[in-house]
């Protein structure tokens, strides 16, 4: 009994953690110039409505890519190494991209605010490139892949605390909906 409730608690925690991604995904990659999602709210709002992005229950929808698979991976401070969790997200991204060859991808590399501006541009490029190389190793054609580094210029979380920095050190796989970006 005790064991069961503990397991349930873990499951609930995992579910909550999983919920962070779609909410954080509200900026549609955080580039901020395509109008999707707009600016982020606090922790409670910002759930993505499916709308034109398709039904998240449809495994070939962009909404599914963003919400169920997760469009981003996270990094530890000053690192561009993928975690096991990051690799499994990218594996799922690669499967989706293989099944949906009509989409092109821009991988955005981001850094937290705890570094200098120039270094963070270089670090963001390194992170974006890590993701690009990994997706290419999973069979995604490099002609579909492009990278851009935003350094620390586009944090997705505004708080000046560790929990926000953890979410800002990220690489976001932005699927193109046939727009030029």
């Amino acid at each position: 009994m005790k064991l069961t409730s503990k397991a349930l608690l873990i499951l609930a925690t995992l579910a909550l953690a999983a919920c962070n991604n779609p909410r954080a995904g509200g900026t549609f990659g955080g580039g901020g110039d395509d109008g999707f999602g707009g600016t982020n709210g606090g922790w409670s709002d910002g759930s993505i409505q499916s709308g034109a992005l398709g039904d998240p229950n449809d495994p070939n929808s962009v909404a599914h890519f963003q919400q169920r698979i997760g469009d981003r991976v996270f990094f530890t401070t000053d690192s561009s190494s993928l975690s096991d969790e990051g690799r499994s997200v990218l594996n799922a991204q690669a499967r989706w991209l293989t099944n949906n060859p009509q989409y092109a991808i821009v991988i955005e590399g981001h850094a937290d605010e705890r570094g200098t501006r120039e270094y963070n541009v270089a670090l963001g490029e390194r992170r974006a490139n890590t993701v690009m190389q990994y997706l290419a190793s999973q069979g995604i054609s490099s002609s579909r892949l492009r990278t851009v580094s935003y350094g620390k210029e586009r944090p997705v979380e505004a708080c000046a605390a560790q929990r926000c920095w953890d979410l800002n050190r990220r690489a976001v796989t932005v699927v193109s909906l046939g727009r030029t970006s």
Binding site: T116, R117, E118, R126, S149, V156
Partner: protein, 455 residues
């Protein structure tokens, strides 16, 4: 008296500086210029007590209007000069309401005893006249303690739209005569004006006077722009723009306003540009395939040259004033550290060995020091070290300080400070670590780049 000026110069120079020719001349002529003052006068000297300077009291009465047009500038000019001097932390103004003497004529003799009575040590008098849109500004500097004029009177002429620059010219002359250092008041600063929410900032390239006045925007905020740098003579500014959806170097001509991208390479991101001392080259970072190296670009021919080839990040390059070397940061050792290499590339020598990460090295215009950003144990600092890495001194500490830029005379460093959860702002600090000040800007501001002393 000699002791005063020697000490003032030592204080200004810091441990690593060298006396200027001007200072040497000034000291040599002092005994002749300044016989002993009245016995009851306070000795003219700056006292340094536990690192705190006793600022030199000065008086800056309103400029004497020599015609009707000059009247409207008479008080404003005095404010510009007084604020400049006060902001150095080396001077303290004795306010007008304390003055006994009135300066009603520029050429009238100075009643030193009246100024001594209110403890003024340096007196600046000025006059202003305006004809149409032309104006003429004159000033004289007096050592009240010895009862002597210091140097000759000077005059400046220009258009009324440049009236603040006239005030800055007077300030530079006064500062130079008293300290033996070059001035820096008649200079401008390019920076990034920020607005909007933290997760979707609007950033605009902007320029202002060194004291925060006359802010003008150079870009409209549609595109993200960061890290501008000014050319050696101030005619151009380079910066990094996301106008094409990816970081690229843009160059703006300050005369024509014309903009162009420079240094592009297909499939690469280019950023962190800086001019060579002759203004003919840029050195910058180019990122491709997960690696960032330094390149130089000849602006005349467009020819590029790769300067580093290390499987690590190399960025934030800065030339030595003689153009022979480049200092930069690299994480080739595992963490960001500072290096120096020949300007044509080649073997780099590491110069930072303290604890923490070192970034954004910038060579002083005097050539003797390198200013940098350091982060250690959750704090950020602006610091300086000698070019061989010795005598490291941290000038500031906060949640986030970064990106130092030197005043034209190498005496003051300006940088970006961001309080935890707050907006970024520009701050300046003396190279001695004294006189930390916020530079006023209309809104949040970052990435200052100090331009040259104007002609």
């Amino acid at each position: 008296m000699i002791q005063l000026f020697t000490r003032l110069r030592d204080m200004l120079r810091g441990p690593a500086g060298a006396a200027t020719m001007l200072a040497a001349t000034l000291v040599a002529t002092l005994p002749a210029l300044m016989p002993a003052g009245p016995a009851n006068a306070q000795p003219l000297r700056l006292q340094i007590t536990e690192g705190v300077i006793e600022p030199m009291p000065f008086a800056m009465p309103a400029f004497v209007p020599e015609d009707q047009g000059g009247a409207q500038y008479s008080e404003q000019l005095a404010r510009v000069v007084a604020n400049n001097l006060t902001n150095t932390g080396l001077f303290r103004e004795v306010p007008a309401q304390a003055h006994i003497a009135r300066v009603s004529s520029f050429d009238a003799s100075v009643s030193y005893s009246d100024w001594r009575a209110v403890n003024v040590q340096a007196l600046i008098t000025g006059a202003v006249s305006v004809q149409g849109n032309r104006m003429r500004v004159k000033f004289r500097l007096f050592d009240v303690v010895s009862g002597q004029q210091m140097g000759q009177g000077m005059q400046f002429e220009g258009t009324t739209t440049n009236w603040r620059r006239m005030g800055h010219k007077v300030s530079d002359a006064v500062y130079s005569r008293i300290t033996g250092e070059g001035g820096y008041f008649d200079s401008r600063v390019v920076f990034i004006a920020e607005s909007g929410p933290r997760d979707n900032r609007t950033k605009r390239l902007a320029i202002m006077d060194q004291d925060g006045a006359n802010v003008q925007h150079l870009t409209d905020g549609r595109d993200l722009v960061i890290a501008p740098r000014v050319s050696p003579n101030g005619d151009r500014v380079v910066y990094t723009s996301y106008a094409g959806g990816s970081p690229r170097i843009a160059l703006i001509n300050m005369q024509s306003g014309q903009r162009q991208n420079v240094g592009d390479q297909p499939g690469a991101m280019t950023f962190s540009p800086r001019f060579s001392p002759d203004g003919r080259q840029l050195v910058f970072s180019l990122a491709r395939g997960g690696n960032t190296d330094l390149y130089s670009l000849d602006l005349g021919s467009g020819q590029q040259r790769q300067l580093t080839a290390s499987p690590s990040i190399a960025t934030a390059p800065s030339f030595s004033p003689d153009g022979r070397f480049i200092t930069f940061e690299s994480d080739r050792s595992g963490t960001s550290q500072l290096y120096i290499m020949p300007a044509s590339g080649g073997e780099a020598r590491r110069i930072s060995f303290g604890q923490g990460r070192y970034s954004t090295p910038v060579w002083s215009p005097r050539g003797d020091l390198i200013a940098f950003t350091k982060s250690h144990a959750g704090r950020f600092h602006i610091g300086v070290m000698r070019t061989d890495g010795s005598e490291e001194r941290l000038l500031t500490a906060s949640f986030l300080d970064e990106g130092p830029t030197w005043a034209p005379n190498g005496r003051v460093v300006m940088f970006t400070r961001e309080a935890q959860g707050g907006d970024p702002a520009l701050f300046s600090v003396d190279v001695s670590g004294r006189n930390l000040r916020r530079v006023p800007t209309p809104g949040p501001a970052s990435d200052p780049a100090w331009g040259p002393l104007l002609p």
